[in-house]
């Protein structure tokens, strides 16, 4: 299976030196070809995927185990700059585990062990001389349940820049809140406690907090699953805006969301090994359009058409 994915990616690069843009419907707003599945593949107005494809991450045979039990098996894939890459799959397929490898958050779990390589701009994040703290300064994360600090809105956004010793804190706060589409709502109450905000606002605050340190990549682990549909829509809009400046990887259990916002989608499943233990495996990874309209693997098709999962 992995070879197939590699070939697809290689083929893309050979056929599409200008970038993936050419493969997509040209005009924004024109409806996508009606898929068998009832999802709308939406393209952002903000320059969908222009520019040459540059790799941000190269995963090579990444395996993750917790206390000796395999959780994610042998994942190899490339993640591209200024794109939104979605990880989808049924519950337990290891998508959260996988995304946490990208910023070494799995280090926080004592029993976790990661083998293989996660190459970030040419350097293996799991090499022995790499400092996970430095990694996280460049690769930020937004969590499933909004987790603002029990402090004021301002202090939340200022925390990252302060501990990193960055300058112009006030400016950064305003910029980050504006980018997170939260500034207008909170500019007059920056000193209020973050816990007084609604769930959707809190999540946008967490995004602002992440943006304040100018990361390179933003990882989002089911960022909307605790939110109502309206807040979800706003954050999806936000993601499409942020794509220009950041590379985004998102885990979502909502495949329509993946279809709406992502450029590329990776589909994982749960596999049982001989000992009846479960682990996740990457089945297919391709442009989102292809995954949802014409997937190569029948398991992918079953999942995205709602037959399983």
């Amino acid at each position: 299976m992995s070879e197939r994915i590699e070939n697809l990616a290689d083929r893309e690069r050979h056929e599409d030196p200008e970038g993936a843009g050419a493969a997509y419907p040209a005009a924004a707003g024109s409806p996508a070809p009606a898929p068998e599945i009832h999802t709308t593949v939406r393209r952002s107005e903000h320059g969908a995927g222009v520019g040459p494809l540059e790799k941000v991450f190269e995963l090579r045979s990444v395996n993750v185990s917790y206390g000796g039990t395999l959780a994610v098996a042998d994942v190899s894939m490339d993640i591209y700059k200024n794109r939104i890459t979605a990880l989808i799959g049924p519950s337990g397929c290891g998508k959260s585990t996988l995304i946490r490898c990208l910023n070494r958050m799995n280090d926080l779990i004592p029993s976790a062990s990661v083998s293989g390589q996660v190459i970030y701009h040419g350097q293996d994040l799991y090499a022995s001389e790499v400092d996970p703290v430095e990694v996280r300064k460049r690769i930020g994360m937004v969590f499933q349940k909004p987790n603002p600090f029990p402090k004021s809105i301002k202090e939340n956004v200022a925390f990252g820049p302060k501990i990193l010793g960055l300058e112009n804190i006030e400016e950064r706060i305003e910029r980050a809140l504006k980018r997170a589409a939260l500034w207008d709502e909170v500019k007059d109450r920056l000193d209020e406690n973050a816990y007084g905000m609604s769930g959707g606002q809190q999540q946008r605050l967490c995004i602002a907090r992440c943006l304040a340190v100018d990361p390179d990549v933003i990882l989002m682990d089911e960022p909307c699953s605790a939110l109502d549909p309206i807040s979800t829509g706003r954050i999806e809009d936000l993601m499409l805006e942020l794509k220009d400046s950041y590379s985004i990887v998102i885990v979502t259990h909502n495949m329509q969301q993946a279809a709406r916002v992502s450029d590329r989608t990776a589909f994982l499943i749960v596999e049982l090994d001989d000992a009846e233990a479960r682990h996740g495996r990457l089945i297919e990874y391709d442009e989102t359009e292809r995954i949802f309209t014409n997937p190569a693997d029948s398991r992918t098709e079953d999942y995205v058409s709602g037959k399983v999962g």
Binding site: A127, E129, V130, D131, V133, E134, R138, D214, P215, S245
Partner: protein, 315 residues
């Protein structure tokens, strides 16, 4: 929208950033400092053990273990001095015994009421009030025993012929002191009994009396035993109530109307003055202390066993 500044430059993660090294050293230093602070609690135990053991051994080399156990009296200051620990143990167990005999029914009764009868609202303010009893300094109990229980309750009200200093007053007050311990832990154990067990019995037509005594109490038995043993442990180590109200006279008898001395009270009475380090009298403090420490250790260990047992059953 402008591109973020710095994201293009931020390509290679700080693979060999010098900052990382010094930060790691800083983090390790912090870890060692925190460990050192934690070690203080270990040093406290070691200090207690060392102090008690070293002086006790010296004591036994002077006085002899046989004498310690078999001498009829505890009279270190007499001529010839006697060092039989038995009188102090007698006093300790008499006072503790009477106190426990009273505290068990009162404590368990309170626990049953709180767990089976009291409304949640009542429980909410009664429990803190019981906790207040726990916070009362023991000197207050001692004062109460000497100036109220002995003259007013025992002598005047009940007409019991007690001496000014007597074990009975100390025991009664000590019972009140350990009652909250017994009540609180027993109530925890009883509340942990699953509601399903009760409902099964009520469903058969049992009365509250029957459910409390035949269903809840047996199910919570481990916790109740733990509570009682902990109460005993507290009573054995209690100093001030006895020191103030029971007099300071070692006593071989069992008549609580007389004065008695416990191990803890002896230690306090002796240690008050400035006894020269190295004298036999100084060492008696430690020998008595060792005895007391061992006694409470045994009872605490038993209590912990039972606590673990009752927690295991329902968790």
């Amino acid at each position: 929208m402008e591109a973020t500044t710095g994201s293009v430059e931020r390509v290679a993660p700080g693979a060999v950033s010098l900052g990382a090294t010094s930060r790691h050293l800083g983090e390790r230093l912090i870890r060692y400092l925190l460990f050192a602070a934690t070690a203080i609690s270990v040093l406290t135990t070691l200090g207690i053990l060392y102090a008690l053991l070293s002086e006790t051994i010296k004591f036994f080399s002077e006085v002899g273990l046989v004498s310690f156990i078999t001498d009829a009296e505890w009279a270190p200051l007499f001529e010839p001095p006697q060092y039989g620990i038995w009188q102090l143990i007698n006093g300790t167990f008499l006072i503790t015994g009477i106190a426990i005999l009273l505290a068990i029914p009162l404590g368990l009764g309170s626990a049953v009421y709180l767990s089976e009868y009291a409304t949640p609202r009542a429980r909410k303010w009664i429990k803190p009030v019981l906790e207040v009893l726990v916070g009362v300094p023991t000197i207050v109990f001692g004062y109460f025993a000497l100036t109220f229980v002995t003259p007013t309750i025992l002598q005047s009200f009940l007409g019991v012929d007690v001496q000014i200093f007597n074990a009975l007053a100390a025991s009664l007050v000590m019972a009140i002191m350990i009652l909250p311990t017994i009540a609180s832990i027993s109530e925890d154990a009883m509340s942990a009994v699953p509601q399903g067990l009760r409902e099964g019995a009520y469903g058969m037509g049992a009365t509250k009396l029957q459910v409390s005594t035949r269903v809840v109490f047996p199910a919570a038995l481990s916790g109740v035993v733990a509570a009682i043993v902990l109460g005993i442990s507290r009573a054995i180590g209690e100093t001030m109530i006895v020191l103030i109200a029971a007099g300071q006279q070692p006593n071989s008898g069992v008549d609580p109307k007389q004065p008695f001395e416990t191990i803890a009270a002896f230690i306090a009475a002796t240690g008050k003055g400035d006894i020269p380090t190295g004298s036999t009298e100084y060492k008696t403090i430690f020998a008595a202390g060792m005895t007391l420490f061992l006694l409470t250790l045994v009872f605490n260990a038993i209590a912990i066993r039972f606590v673990r047992k009752y927690r295991q059953v329902y968790e």
